[in-house]
């Protein structure tokens, strides 16, 4: 990280009269994590903003928010004109929780998937973004903040653990956690995402502080920008280690683990800034800076857009080849999207890699190109600094679980991931609970799926387990 980048936010802090860093940093010890794997891939995003034409359409994806029903209640019809901040779709079970339009414009399409589940509600953006305005809350009033978050749809930016659903408006969470760095492959630099939104971020943290009886905890990396280290009343914890050190679930485990009966909320750093703008200006300004990453992009970098942006402008004239996989998110947890698709509800990264649909002659024995690996049977294991161009080939077929200890290597938590996954497969409630399902969501165990010799769908199994446990509770 360059010197300049570190200085920039602190200058703003100085202007706003913030207290010097040394007086505010509360963390003393660095939490050092040794297990995990930082995958080194080609196509990282340099700290530049790309000037691309704006997306014509934006979409809401209720399917991205666990807790929303497959067919939630639509509050508008195709053809309706909406303002940014107008509620578009509501949860049937919890009608206060809505997803709101990130832009103003006309609803042009409702896309459906299997069993008519609503996958995308597409809004064609107008030339300008016209905001619906909400009465500004007082920062110390829990009720007013709760009210504006719910009516504006910003509530759905909060996620609740256990189970990673949207936050339940009827509970007061024990704590709220924000990870201020992303350690996933090619992930955006969270510090860079906050450029120009520092004030909004700090205000957002104060608003979150009013929602919890406990603390707002920030997880930062050792060389983090000052903004995250002097964030008001929030408690700052430094994490050092490979991915998934930046995963908020791993951070929660080391800060204040989720016990049975605990409810905590998490939110991404950019979304804290959206809440900050909401409480200061009374508008749902769903701005997202998104990192375009991956080996198949001609130009990688950052684009300023909004939640749920159409990916088409990112791709136009910017791809090295035709046969590519488009991923909203990172290569471990992201979702596959079509060229006409949109970014996911929480994603601030868009990755394009090669589609690995070519059979490989004796590929298991004599790999024809280098690939990232945790296995010392490959030469490429011994090249720790090499960056790989990856593709979506699983490099093998699904098999019964044979190897042991692989999952543990990449999960820096006091947890037996393989036993948890097995307990989910045979639906043993007590074991699933005792082995820590409340502490994990898909992203925390995504590396297990990468590393699995038997190519087991770890994240899918875990999601089934999470849904099953939620249903049982």
């Amino acid at each position: 990280m360059s010197r300049n980048k570190q200085d920039e936010p602190s200058e703003i802090m100085a202007r706003s009269g913030a207290i010097p860093l040394s007086q505010l940093v509360r963390d003393s010890a660095i939490i050092k994590l040794t297990r995990g794997l930082s995958l080194k891939l080609l196509g990282s995003a340099p700290s530049v903003r790309l000037a691309l034409p704006p997306s014509a359409t934006f979409a809401l994806k209720p399917v991205d928010v666990p807790g929303f029903e497959p067919i939630p209640r639509l509050l508008h019809q195709v053809g309706d004109t909406v303002l940014a901040g107008d509620p578009i779709v509501a949860s049937k079970a919890t009608p206060e929780v809505v997803l709101s339009a990130p832009v103003s414009g006309e609803i042009v399409e409702v896309r459906r998937g299997d069993k008519r589940a609503i996958t995308e509600i597409v809004i064609e953006a107008g030339r300008h973004v016209d905001f619906r305005s909400f009465p500004k809350p007082r920062l110390e009033s829990r009720d007013e903040i709760r009210q504006i978050l719910l009516t504006s749809g910003a509530w759905a930016l909060l996620r609740q653990r256990p189970f990673n659903t949207f936050a339940d408006p009827s509970v007061t969470p024990r704590d709220i956690f924000v990870s201020c760095f992303d350690s996933a492959p090619l992930a955006p630099d969270t510090g860079f995402l906050m450029h120009g939104r520092e004030e909004a971020f700090l205000t957002g943290l104060r608003a979150l502080g009013a929602l919890t009886a406990g603390n707002v905890h920030l997880g930062v990396k050792p060389n983090s920008i000052d903004l995250f280290r002097r964030a008001g009343d929030a408690k700052v914890h430094t994490f050092d280690g490979p991915h998934p050190a930046g995963a908020v679930g791993v951070q929660i485990h080391h800060i204040a683990p989720i016990a049975k009966g605990d409810v905590v909320w998490t939110i991404k750093a950019q979304d804290v800034a959206i809440i900050g703008t909401l409480v200061t200006d009374g508008i749902f300004d769903a701005r997202r800076t998104v990192a375009l990453t991956g080996s198949e992009f001609i130009r990688t970098g950052y684009v300023d857009t909004r939640l749920g942006a159409a990916v088409a402008p990112f791709l136009a004239g910017n791809l090295k080849s035709e046969l590519v996989r488009l991923i909203s998110g990172n290569v471990l947890t992201g979702k596959k999207v079509q060229p006409v698709g949109h970014l996911g509800q929480f994603d601030d990264q868009f990755t394009v890699i090669e589609e690995g649909d070519q059979p490989e002659f004796l590929g298991w024995l004599l790999p024809s190109y280098p690939r990232p690996t945790l296995s010392r049977t490959f030469l490429s294991y011994f090249l720790p600094n090499r960056k790989f161009a990856v593709n979506s080939n699983p490099h093998g077929e699904q098999r019964a679980l044979v190897m042991t200890g692989e999952y543990e290597r990449v999960v820096p938590m006091d947890l037996y991931p393989q036993h948890l996954i097995k307990a989910i497969l045979f639906r043993d409630y007590d074991q699933i609970e005792g082995l820590g399902i409340y502490e994990v969501v898909e992203e925390d165990l995504a590396l297990c799926e990468f590393a699995c010799t038997s190519k087991q769908p770890v994240q899918r199994i875990l999601r089934e387990g999470l849904d099953w446990m939620r249903g049982e509770a």
Binding site: L39, P185, P257, A259, K260, R325, I327, V331, T333, T351, I353, E355, G356, D357, Q358, P359, E360, F361, L362, G363, W364, L365, P367, T373, L374, S375, R376, T377, F378, V390, N393, P394, H395, G396, E397, Q398, R399, A400, L401, V402, G405, E408, D414, L415, Y416, Q418, H419, G434, L435, G436, A446, E449, F450, A451, T453, S454, K455, P457, V458, R460
Partner: protein, 388 residues
């Protein structure tokens, strides 16, 4: 490569849905995926996956077994020709020794693989699941832990028993409780004891052609009755290390096993935790026996114990089977340690069994889930305590 692709493409329609061999599509898959890693892509979950798969994992173990196999082939010939007095010197008669070894060992390998894979394919077809690669290793292990004189039909029968009763009955690869290769050996050991133990089974060939006074006694047999004094008269430590001694085909050479262990540990495929704890526990128990002056094996020091019999082969290739071993990392130390101690106890103190590792490992296979249970319940207790 194109030839293979062409052949596969020609055959494929018969095995796809609606084809006349549709039922056998997993058998076809086994061959296709052996030749070509499929061009299918990740559908959900991670979009990229590690290069490692079960084929590569199992193949690595087979490679690690090759030094033992190759040495075993030579040693079968060497033992025979020293017993007959034709080529008693190590360097003499290399071609004859290897040739005889091949004649004895290769058919056993072929029988083991064809019976085992045949059953695996049949189960895969009837149960409609893919063929797992686990048997690639089992099929190699079975001949290596047999005496060279065992009849081929016994190898086939034992393999069939091990695969059907030891593995498929439990649900197939990944589900078995007991080590499959050891199931084959233990079956013969109890069903046909004269073929599996005693002084005459370790050297191939007709004993009437052996030179007068040749006993064929293994170091274990010598040390059991005569202790260190008798052992020193028959076998030098160097001889025990290099392995030109009678014994099961793959178990005799410490050097060859060490090479295999190196491959498994460097690649990370075999658990060094288990290997280390078996060896440490066996040595410690051996030391205890030496110090306390137990009658059998009197005076035999721990390092002799380690280079005799099958302890190292068992520690490196048998105890480390990930399916039947303890699965938690701390559990692996306990599991290995218990194998090491109980194996030595059986070897030294139990007169009914000349060697202890097969039984020690099978016994600990049974206890492995209990060992894991201890560590897992401790983890669960820690977590549940937070809720209070």
């Amino acid at each position: 490569m194109k030839v293979f692709r062409g052949l596969l493409n020609q055959a494929k329609p018969h095995f796809t849905k609606g084809g006349k061999l549709e039922k056998f599509h997993y058998a076809y898959d086994a061959f296709e995926t052996f030749l070509f890693v499929p061009g299918e892509t990740c559908s959900d979950g991670t979009h990229i996956k590690d290069g490692i798969d079960l084929k590569r994992t199992m193949f690595t173990v087979v490679v690690a077994l090759l030094p033992c196999l190759l040495f075993g082939i030579w040693n079968v010939g060497h033992q025979h020709y020293s017993a007959t007095g034709e080529f008693p010197a190590l360097a003499a008669g290399l071609v004859e020794k290897v040739l005889l070894g091949l004649i004895v060992v290769l058919p056993m390998v072929v029988v083991s693989y064809s019976v085992g894979l045949g059953i695996e394919f049949a189960f895969a077809i009837f149960r409609d699941h893919p063929v797992n690669e686990g048997f690639l290793v089992t099929g190699m292990l079975i001949p290596l832990i047999m005496p060279p004189t065992v009849p081929l039909w016994m190898v086939g029968l034992a393999t069939a028993f091990a695969v059907v009763i030891g593995k498929e009955a439990f649900g197939g690869t990944g589900m078995n409780i007991l080590n499959v290769a050891l199931m084959a050996r233990v079956f013969l050991f109890f069903a046909y004891p004269p073929y599996m133990a005693g002084d005459i089974v370790w050297v191939a060939g007709d004993p009437s052609r052996f030179v007068d006074g040749y006993s064929g006694a293994t170091p274990l047999a010598v040390a059991y009755s005569g202790g260190l004094a008798a052992l020193d008269k028959s076998y030098s430590l160097e001889q025990l290390f290099w392995g030109a001694i009678p014994g099961s085909i793959g178990e005799t050479s410490v050097a060859a096993i060490g090479l295999g262990a190196l491959i498994l540990v460097v690649t990370g495929i075999g658990s060094w935790r288990i290997m280390l704890s078996v060896i440490v526990a066996a040595a410690a128990t051996g030391l205890l026996f030496q110090v306390t002056g137990i009658e059998p094996y009197s005076g035999v020091p721990p390092h002799y114990h380690l280079v005799m019999g099958s302890v190292l082969f068992a520690a490196v290739f048998m105890a480390t089977d990930p399916v039947t071993a303890a699965q938690t990392q701390p559990g692996k130390y306990v599991y290995g340690f218990l194998i090491g101690t109980s194996g030595m106890v059986i070897r030294v103190l139990n007169p009914a069994y000349p060697e202890g590792w097969m039984l020690a490992i099978l016994l600990m296979n049974v206890f492995a889930p209990l060992i894991d249970h201890g560590f897992i319940s401790a983890n669960m207790k820690r977590r549940n305590a937070r809720a209070l």
